[in-house]
């Protein structure tokens, strides 16, 4: 096995602006949202929040509310769930850099990888009938450029590099709610947790955005979608 590349996410700095998401969508020409589908988003920003206000008995209220953001794409896992279930071997992990990519010449578009991945990384492209996913902008890495999401982030939340180097610099944390435990697939991800961050498996908070059931008209003004004035 050669190198293994991974992402670093500084949750403590992320303001949830979704510039990374939009830069990726634009650069990769991903399918745009329709009225009923959110389209493809190789990078998403999860908003996790929780807590309550409580009366302390003398008329005062205290709270333990929290909210934080996690920018997430494919984690190019060490033990990827998507490659294990792929019936053709189209979804595979590159030996040279550990990046998980789709071979479009083999993909049958069965969506097994989409079902298996706990991070929502593989996404179906309705135009080609194949699966697509973040390839860490490998074509940019090859010419010593940063992936587009890393370059676009206005708060310098994201970083890419060899995972061993990133772990030396920032530690080993990758299991932060709402992400699943990092012991499952071994994501090549390092997170500098928000001070409010909860561990994976936390039951106190809720994933409030993006809502898995959300349709575009729920989030965006109907006037924008229909073009009405």
């Amino acid at each position: 096995m050669g190198k293994q590349f991974g992402f670093f996410v500084d949750q403590s700095k992320c303001i949830g602006c979704r510039t990374c998401q939009m830069a990726c969508k634009d650069y990769k020409h991903l399918n745009v949202a329709t009225k009923t589908k959110v389209g493809q988003n190789f990078r998403r920003v999860y908003e996790y929040e929780g807590g309550t206000w409580q009366e302390d008995g003398d008329g005062n209220y205290t709270n333990d509310v929290f909210a934080y953001y996690t920018s997430i794409s494919c984690n190019h896992c060490t033990d990827p769930a998507c490659t294990k279930v792929c019936p053709t071997g189209a979804m595979h992990k590159r030996e040279s850099d550990g990046i998980v990519v789709v071979n479009h010449d083999k993909c049958i578009g069965c969506r097994s990888c989409e079902m298996a991945c706990p991070y929502g990384a593989p996404q179906f492209n309705e135009t080609t009938g194949h699966m697509d996913k973040c390839n860490m902008c490998v074509e940019r890495l090859e010419v010593n450029k940063q992936p587009i999401c890393v370059e676009a982030c206005p708060d310098r939340v994201l970083e890419v590099g060899e995972i061993s180097e990133l772990r030396k610099k920032y530690g080993n944390v990758a299991g932060v709610a709402p992400l699943v435990s990092s012991s499952i697939t071994g994501p090549n991800l390092v997170i500098k947790p928000s001070p409010q961050a909860k561990p994976s498996g936390d039951k106190e908070g809720n994933l409030t955005a993006p809502n898995p059931q959300q349709k575009v008209e729920d989030a965006v003004s109907p006037l924008i979608i229909t073009g009405d004035k």
Partner: protein, 304 residues
């Protein structure tokens, strides 16, 4: 309440239901032979009343073949690029989906061969033996395809998925076999022993299916309540659909039981195939469809 209906999974739901109905028909015929405890030629009554009984078995396997074929067609509709399908042959020893495809196809192919070779005893004996085995393996791999994702999607644990699918196999197979037997009696006016045996076997298989669902469902819900992660869709988001599904299946089985009772009491004297059994079948199919839709909605993640 969350919406569970996902259009792109519909061909997959149809595939599982049709294939499981097909496997159920095979199960009923196999059990008929097991419980008959007679040599195959006598079970088929080839020497005594060959035409009658082979017609019944042929009809059952003919329907099994048709359902299997429709299931396979439906599964290919689910694919984004069917032309790359043959690449699955290279991964037979690596993952469950290619095995599922191969055994489902083999089962369907053998069902077709049974229709052709049923009266040729040496071949029929082999086919009648291996076809249900292929069907069982197809069901195991169908369940293990989901089961292999258990770490990332606890809702699809192999044991519960297998029980869910086996329950559907028994209920659909039992009801369809009963309809075929009734249609056979209606068209030929015959009322011979093995036809009754098959009807009784169909009833037994359907009840086994119901009992399996009684066992797995509460345990499955208890299990889900314990393992659901933060990004899991919660089973309790689908209680309305779950309730509707259970009611439809329960009413369908109840209607079928009434029809089974009438026919046993009247000793198959009615010359009309009962509409009750068909209504029961439709209710159970709709109930299972809703239940399967919830099953696919219980994914750990969705595109976000």
């Amino acid at each position: 309440m969350e919406h569970s209906f996902t259009l792109h999974e519909t061909p997959l739901i149809i595939f599982t239901l049709l294939m499981q109905a097909s496997l159920g028909l095979s199960l009923v015929v196999s059990l008929l032979f097991v419980f008959a405890k007679t040599p195959l030629n006598k079970s088929l009554n080839i020497t005594e009343n060959g035409k009658m009984n082979t017609t019944l078995i042929r009809r059952v396997y003919g329907l099994a073949f048709l359902l299997g074929l429709l299931a396979i067609i439906s599964s290919t509709i689910h694919l984004g690029d069917q032309l790359h399908g043959f690449y699955i042959l290279g991964r037979v020893f690596s993952t469950a989906l290619p095995r599922e495809v191969i055994f489902c196809s083999a089962f369907t192919g053998c069902s077709f061969l049974i229709m052709i070779f049923l009266t040729r005893l040496p071949i029929a004996r082999i086919l009648l033996l291996i076809t249900p085995i292929l069907g069982l393996l197809a069901l195991i791999f169908m369940s293990s395809f989901y089961g292999q994702m258990v770490q990332t999607n606890p809702a699809w644990a192999f044991g519960y998925t297998f029980m869910r699918f086996l329950s559907a196999v028994c209920m659909l197979g039992g009801l369809l076999s009963a309809i075929i037997v009734l249609a056979q009696i209606h068209t030929t006016g015959s009322n011979i022993l093995s036809t009754k045996s098959m009807y009784a076997t169909a009833f037994g298989v359907m009840i086994i299916g119901l009992l399996l669902s009684f066992i797995y469902q509460p345990n499955f819900e208890f299990y889900l309540a314990n393992v659901s992660g933060e990004v899991s869709h919660n089973i309790y988001g689908y209680l309305t659909q779950l309730s509707l599904s259970n009611w439809l299946i329960a009413i369908g089985i109840l209607v079928a039981c009434i029809d089974f009772s009438f026919n046993f009491i009247r000793a198959f004297s009615s010359q009309k195939p009962s509409m009750l059994m068909i209504v029961a079948f439709i209710l159970v199919v709709i109930g299972l469809f809703i239940s399967r839709d919830i099953f696919y909605a219980l994914k750990n993640t969705e595109i976000m």
